[in-house]
Amino acid sequence: MKAFTSKLGFAIIVAMVLAALFAPYLAPYDPSEYHLDLSFAGPTFAHWFGNDADGRDVLSRIIFGARVSLGIGIAVVGISLVAGSAVGLIAGYAGGIVDRIFLFVSDVFLAFPSFLFAIAVAAFLEPSIANVVLILSLKGWVTYARLTRGEALSMRERDFVAAARASGAGAPRIVLKHLFPNMIGPVLVNASFGMAGVIMIESALSFLGLGVPVDTPSWGAMIDQGTQYLLIAPYLSIFPGIAIMLVVLGFNFLGDGLRDKLAPRGR
C-alpha cells in the first residue's frame, strides 16, 4: 500500500514535470490564442476542459501553466527549504546567543505581513515571475527554519545526541548525521504542503492584482480569473484547482514514502 502510493505520487510528479517540459508538444492549442466565438464554451471533445472568457483552450493553458506554477513552487520551496533548514538547524543546535538572534530575525520576518511586502514590490515593479518567487521565498524560509530549530532544540538534549557527542562527534556531524535525518519527516510534510501553499499564495497575489504577468498561464492566476466567472462557468476555476490538487497529492504521497525511507525513527 505504502509503496504503491509513494510510487503513484512519484508518477504524478514526473508526469507533471514532463507536461511542463514538453508543454509545446502536448498542448493541443496555443494557450494565448483567442477564439471569441468559443467564449465560455464548456468542455467538448475538441476542448476537453472547455474554453475561457476569450475562448482560450483551458487544457492548453493548464499544461503551459504547469511550467509557471511548478517552476514557482519548486523554486520557492527549494530556496526556502535549503536556506531555512540550514539556519534553523544551526540556531537550534547552537542555542544561546545564536538562537536568540535567530528568534529575533525570524520574529521580525514572520510578524511582518508578507502581502504588504508584496504590495510594496508590486508598486515598484511590474508583475513578474521572479518577483513572485522573491516575495514568497522571503517569507517561506522562516517556516522551515522555525520548524527545524524547534525539532533541533528538543532533540539535542536526547540520548542519541548525547551519545554521539560523547563519542566525540563534531557539531556539523551531529547536525547533519543525527539531527537532520530525524526531522526530515516534518520538514518534508511541510514542504509537500508548502508546494500547495506557494501555488495558493501565488493565486492570492493574483487575486490582489500582484501575481504573474498578464497572459502568463499559471494555475493560481487561472483560478483567480475563473473565479470572476464562477456563476456562469465554474469549470474555469475548478480545472486548475484539480491540477493543484493533483500536485499536492503527488508531493504528499512522495513525501510519505520519502519519510519512511529517510527517517529511521519511523520504524
Partner: protein, 531 residues
C-alpha cells in the same frame, strides 16, 4: 526501566491535563465566539419601504465640499442639495434656489426657496450658502474644489433668501459648479472634521448610519421641500467582491445594483427571470492616453495608426456584451456641446500599417516576430480593465506593434499617469458636464500638477479656442467653438477615444420606478419603490 516508567507516569498525568486543556480551551473559544457575535448582533431591518443597494466601494466622506471619489459624491448628492441641480439629461435645474438672475456677465443673484429646513430642523438661509462656498474658497477645510471658485470675487447674503455672487471675470462654466451641496453652517462648524460622517444638509434623505466600508443608511427626509422619495429608506451595502454582490442580488438580500455586475455575467443572472435589467447611454468616456513627449508617440501618424488598429466593435460586443458605444469625443452625444458631425476612426488594420510605414516605422520582417516598435501599456489592476487591455494589446500586435501590458496598483498607476511616466494607458473621464473640460484636458497650461492634460498635448489653436469658450456666454457661440475644438482634437488625437460605457442597473423584479441617467446619478433612486 524505572526511569521509563517514571517518565510515562509523568507523561500520563500531564497528557490527561494536556488533552483536557485543549478541549477546555476549545470550549472557551467557542463560547467567546458565540458571546461576541451575539453582543455585536444587530437587528436586521427589512421593511417594505426599504431599498437595499449594493455598491462596490464605500464613500470616504459625505461632506459635499470634500467628496471627490465617485461613491462619496453620488451618495452625498442624496443628502445634500445644491443651489442648482441636474435633470436626467444633464441640464441645470432649480434646486434650493428656485430662480436666479444674471445681473451682468460677472454677477449673479440667487433666490432661495421659502421655508427651507436642514435635517436638524433649523432653517437654511443665505448665510449657510455663503458659508458653504466661503469654506471651500478660504482653504479652511482643504477642499479639492477650491480651484473651481478662484474666480469668485465676492459672495454675500443680501437677505436671508438672496445670495449675490460676483466673479472677477466672465466665466461661462461657473453655473455648473453651483450644483455642489449646501451644508448647515452651525452644524459644520460644530462638527469640524467629523462633519463628513455626520452631514447636516437639506437633501431628500438624511443620514441615519454611516459605517465606512460597511453600510450607509439613509432615511427619507419628511421635511423635504421637493417631491418626497417614494421609499422610506435607502441602504447602501458595501460589497467589494463581484461574486458576492451578484449572489446577494440573486438571493434577494439586495434589491438593486447599478454598474456593479460585470457585463459578461449579466445574462447568467437575469436568465431566471427574478432579476431584471435596464440600461441607458452613459457619459463616462474611456480613452487610451498616449504620451506626446515619447519619441514614437509624438508622431501623429503613429497615434492615428493605433486608433485604426483597435477593433472596438470586437471589444464592445465581446467584453461589454453591447453595453457600450464607440466614442469620438470626451463629451458624450447627450451633451449639448457634443459635435454630431464628428467621424469615427474605423477598424482598418491595413490603413494602420500604411500610416506606420509612412511614419518611418516599417515592420522589419513583415508578419514575422520582430515588431515595428515596442510599447508599454499601463493599466490599473482592476480585472476587467486588465482583460480589456490584453485584448487591445493583441489587436495592436496584429499590425506589428509589440505591447506589454503592465498592471499597477492604483495609487502607483495614477501617480505615473500624473507624472508623465508612461507610454500608453487607459482611463476614463467621469462626470463631464461642461465642455470646459477641454480647457482642463487639452490646454497646454494644464500639464499636471496644474491640470488634467495627462498626455501633454499642446496646440496653439486649441489653447485660444478653449480660452474663448470660457468667456463666451452665448450657448450657441460656445457650441460652435467647442465643435471646432472637438474636430482638431479628433484629428490630432492626443488620446484615442474608446467608448462610452452604458449604465446598467440590475434589480429584483418587485421593484418599480427603476431608471438610469447618463451621469449614473443616485438621484434616480428617489423614485424606486416596491410593489
Amino acid at each position: 526501566m524505572r526511569e521509563t516508567q517514571a517518565t510515562l507516569t509523568g507523561s500520563c498525568a500531564f497528557s490527561v491535563g494536556g488533552v483536557h486543556t485543549i478541549w477546555l480551551i476549545s470550549a472557551i473559544l467557542a463560547l467567546v465566539c458565540i458571546l461576541s457575535v451575539s453582543t455585536s448582533c444587530r437587528q436586521a431591518v427589512a421593511a417594505k419601504g426599504d431599498i437595499n443597494i449594493a455598491v462596490a466601494a464605500g464613500p470616504i466622506t459625505l461632506d459635499p465640499r470634500l467628496a471627490t471619489d465617485a461613491e462619496s459624491d453620488k451618495i452625498s448628492s442624496l443628502i445634500c442639495d445644491g443651489l442648482l441641480g441636474r435633470d436626467d439629461d444633464g441640464g441645470l435645474t432649480p434646486m434650493l434656489a428656485d430662480r436666479f438672475e444674471r445681473i451682468s456677465d460677472t454677477s449673479y443673484r440667487f433666490f432661495l426657496r421659502d421655508g427651507l429646513l436642514f435635517h436638524d430642523g433649523t432653517p437654511l438661509t443665505a448665510e449657510d450658502v455663503v458659508y458653504t462656498f466661503s469654506s471651500i474658497m478660504d482653504g479652511s477645510i482643504s477642499s479639492p474644489f477650491r480651484s473651481s471658485f478662484t474666480r469668485v470675487a465676492a459672495i454675500e447674503a443680501e437677505s436671508p433668501t438672496v445670495v449675490r455672487l460676483d466673479l472677477k471675470e466672465p466665466f461661462a462654466p461657473f453655473l455648473s459648479y453651483l450644483t455642489r451641496g449646501i451644508v448647515s453652517k452651525k452644524a459644520a462648524l460644530a462638527a469640524g472634521a467629523s462633519f463628513g460622517t455626520h452631514p447636516v444638509c437639506a437633501g431628500p434623505y438624511k443620514l441615519v448610519r454611516f459605517s465606512p466600508d460597511n453600510v450607509v443608511e439613509l432615511e427619507a427626509n419628511a421635511a423635504y421641500y421637493g417631491e418626497k422619495p417614494r421609499n422610506a429608506r435607502l441602504l447602501f451595502d458595501v460589497i467589494k467582491d463581484d461574486n458576492v454582490r451578484a449572489l446577494k442580488l440573486i438571493k434577494g438580500d439586495v434589491d438593486l445594483v447599478q454598474n456593479g455586475i460585470p457585463a459578461l455575467i449579466i445574462d447568467g443572472i437575469t436568465k431566471s427571470g427574478e432579476i431584471r435589467m435596464k440600461n441607458g447611454d452613459g457619459s463616462v468616456m474611456s480613452y487610451m492616453g498616449m504620451n506626446l513627449t515619447d519619441p514614437i508617440l509624438s508622431n501623429k501618424k503613429v497615434r492615428q495608426a493605433i486608433a485604426y488598429a483597435i477593433d472596438r466593435d470586437e471589444i464592445i460586443s465581446h467584453r461589454f456584451k453591447g453595453m457600450a458605444s464607440k466614442a469620438n469625443s470626451i463629451l458624450s452625444p447627450a451633451n449639448w456641446a457634443y459635435d454630431g458631425e464628428l467621424p469615427q476612426y474605423p477598424f482598418d488594420p491595413a490603413k494602420a500599417m500604411q500610416l506606420m510605414d509612412e511614419a518611418g516605422f516599417k515592420d522589419p520582417d513583415g508578419p514575422g516576430p520582430l515588431p515595428r516598435f515596442r510599447l508599454t501599456y499601463k493599466t490599473s489592476t482592476v480585472k476587467e480593465r486588465v482583460e480589456i487591455a490584453r485584448m487591445i494589446a493583441h489587436q495592436l500586435e496584429k499590425v506589428g506593434i509589440s505591447v506589454r501590458v503592465a498592471p499597477y496598483e492604483w495609487a502607483t498607476f495614477y501617480r505615473d499617469v500624473r507624472k508623465g511616466n508612461f507610454q500608453i494607458y487607459t482611463l476614463s473621464w467621469v462626470g463631464v458636464s461642461d465642455p470646459d473640460i477641454f480647457h482642463e484636458v487639452c490646454g497646454s497650461s494644464q500639464f499636471p500638477p496644474n491640470g488634467l492634460n495627462r498626455d501633454r498635448y499642446k496646440n496653439a489653436e486649441v489653447d485660444a479656442l478653449v480660452e474663448q469658450g470660457r468667456t463666451t456666454m452665448d450657448e450657441g457661440e460656445r457650441k460652435k467653438i467647442y465643435s471646432r475644438v472637438q474636430q482638431i482634437v479628433f484629428d490630432d488625437l492626443p488620446y484615442v477615444p474608446l467608448w462610452y460605457e452604458k449604465n446598467v442597473v440590475l434589480y429584483r423584479k418587485g421593484l418599480e420606478g427603476v431608471r438610469v441617467r447618463p451621469d449614473a446619478s443616485y438621484r434616480v433612486f428617489m423614485d424606486v419603490g416596491k410593489k
